[in-house]
Symmetry: C2
Subunit: 404 residues, 2 copies
């Protein structure tokens, strides 16, 4: 990571969310890192009294956001847009997430991510801290929005080739553990310190059990795209409910994909220690020209034509947006901050819980817990300043204030 | 309840399971009730040092056991057999449980239960403390082993007629809340202090929500005979997982009807405070002569013929038993004590948890918590003496030692 040497910066707040709970004091930032959190400080500081400081959100499952759609454009421009637009919704680090796409496209996508990770500077916005590959080793029986024609057979060689193109930046892989070749790959991922996650999978409970023994740690968009729960064949949902040490992620809480009560049940079982928030956002505005696709949950057809995005709803209504205008495209999808707002009152410990499920836990799964995910000495100064209504007052990436 | 005046009896143990945890001391029994639990006692006592004293199990869902099948014979003899045979498996009180049967049979069954409740003396065995009506107000879509031809439309008048025949001894009613007429009946049951429970039901999550608002408190054989869980339509299973104040019962843990891991998930959500054990035993040996029925979970055909019971397994094997010999019939079904043994190591607090889910909670649902379900002053002296392997050493009903 390049960039200029950062000057010292000190932030004062009476509500700093740390792993030890809420504290009052000063966050000293030097060279983009948290140098110390202290009760008193003699010198100049920025006074955020009355505001909350918490770690920036980490989105480990995000195909696109705002003006960029990495999964569908697969180029560095889409990633630059995403990095630039993500701090506006509280995300300070993310894993650009591929989709199950044709092999050539997937390969060039991985090259683009490697390049953007290499060029990243804090003044570019949120940091790409690696790559999440969603597929291509998935089960067509639980395809969701993935492409069936692009599913591949799991293999260690295939993965190593992808990861080499990616400059060894793959941090998380979503796969179907029941497909032949997946178990050795899961063990291989474990050996390389890469998180294996079950998703788009028809696995039985016993198949998930075997995968966990091989190294599976996580479940991609819990409940969705997986064999459901039954009391005699617990399926993937039963396995993620049962295995308490595994993580489970949920996407933005619109109430459409997963009912709030289903979120609550999962949260009670996983607790702050194993629940993970993510957005699964797509960046519809940046879909390729000529693209047309039907979203069965939104009941809308997305049509990209002549530099505009048209959304035709089943009810006949059409909405058209300008893909280059962030303000116009931002409302297309529920964003990370809105998702946090939607659940915070149902969590056990408010923003302290949010700091676990939206920051600390995703940092662990992204292999970045040594530098991301909490406000503590030595961590990157990725900091959100929030008012009482959880509006963003300021956002810092590596101590650099971002335009909102 | 008649019977002679009981003499005083004092039991000593270094492990007495009380609502306050395990204590060491003396249980003083007078006139069939626990007079006191004290640290010291001057006088004669029975020394159970090295053994555990705990409250007797209460089975709130039991159609038959040993040599008696109340649900299928419906007569007082079947109930006398059950009362006599239940202490042998640790059950000291129970709710004879009807099934969805033809109206005439159901009515005479209720009269028989009323009569047996009236005649009961502690030397007859386990106490019938009321009646559980499973049906006839159920949904044929989740019939299980109930009879479709005997399903009735729920009505307050219909229930009141049943309960009048039963001498107002109905304590628990299993019904399908989504059937027209159920909601007013649930409110009526609440007003009368009778527990309404959802079972054999296709209800949606919202229909269960409405039923809980009307007074529904409990779920009959959780997971089985009810609409399953899905994250967009949570169904009855999602509702019992979600609503933390409701009780949920599970039958004997054979691993056939409900996987152990599904039990664990439910237990984590319900905790000791809302989980309930029961047996759902049938008393196959006492089925009417000429009876033939296929048990789809056991994969066996039960045939009663010429005073004998033949069990034909799908694999071709046949087993024949003498219905009048307790030792021969006892092995036909997993019993309450075996169910407890099957789960005790997976509970949070061993036998203290068992005392909640097998004694205290069922006493609440049976409307008998003022006199049953725990070892405490003023409670009926229904006491199990167990060795370290959870074998029954002695069983007391109202302070009367039962033949084992």
């Amino acid at each position: 990571m390049g960039g200029p040497v950062m000057s010292q910066l000190v932030l004062k707040s009476d509500r700093i969310i740390t792993p030890q709970g809420e504290v009052s004091g000063f966050v000293e930032i030097r060279d983009g890192k948290i140098h110390a959190i202290t009760e008193s400080y003699l010198g100049d500081y920025l006074d955020y009294t009355g505001k909350t400081l918490m770690p920036g959100f980490i989105d480990i499952h995000i195909h696109g956001w705002g003006r960029g759609s990495y999964a569908y454009k697969g180029n560095i421009e889409s990633l630059r847009y995403m990095s630039e637009d993500l701090p506006k919704v509280g995300v300070t680090a993310y894993l650009p997430t591929t989709s199950t796409m044709p092999n050539d496209f997937l390969e060039s996508s991985l090259l683009a991510a490697k390049e953007h990770i290499g060029e990243y500077r804090p003044d570019m916005g949120a940091e790409p801290i690696g790559i999440h590959m969603e597929g291509p080793y998935i089960n067509k029986a639980y395809l969701g929005l993935q492409r069936e024609d692009s599913i591949q057979q799991p293999s260690i060689e295939g993965f190593d080739h992808f990861n080499q193109l990616a400059g060894n930046q793959v941090k998380l892989m979503t796969l179907a553990p029941e497909i032949e070749g997946s178990l050795p790959l899961i063990s291989h991922l474990r050996d390389k310190g890469i998180t294996a996650s079950a998703g788009h999978t028809a696995a039985t409970f016993d198949e998930i059990t075997a995968a966990i023994e091989a190294g599976l740690q996580h479940f991609t968009h819990a409940y969705s795209g997986m064999r459901g729960f039954h009391h005699r064949e617990l399926g993937v949902v039963g396995a993620l409910m049962y295995y308490q040490d595994t993580f489970a992620e949920v996407a933005k809480q619109t109430g459409i994909t997963v009912k709030p009560e289903a979120f609550d049940i999962l949260y009670r079982l996983k607790t702050d220690n194993r629940m993970v928030m993510m957005s699964d956002c797509m960046g519809y505005a940046d879909f390729p020209d000529g693209y047309e696709f039907y979203h069965y949950l939104r009941k809308e057809t997305f049509i990209v034509e002549g530099g505009k995005l048209h959304l035709k709803h089943d009810d006949g209504s059409v909405k058209t947006v300008d893909p280059c205008c962030y303000q116009e495209v931002a409302g297309l999808e529920m964003n990370y901050l809105e998702s946090v707002r939607a659940v915070v009152d149902r969590l056990d410990h408010g923003l302290c819980s949010v700091a676990k499920i939206a920051c600390e836990n995703p940092a662990i799964l992204a292999g970045a817990s040594d530098r991301k995910g909490k406000l503590a000495t030595g961590m990157d100064a990725d900091i959100l300043v929030l008012d009482d209504e959880l509006n963003l007052v300021d956002v810092y990436c590596h101590g650099v204030k971002q335009p909102l």
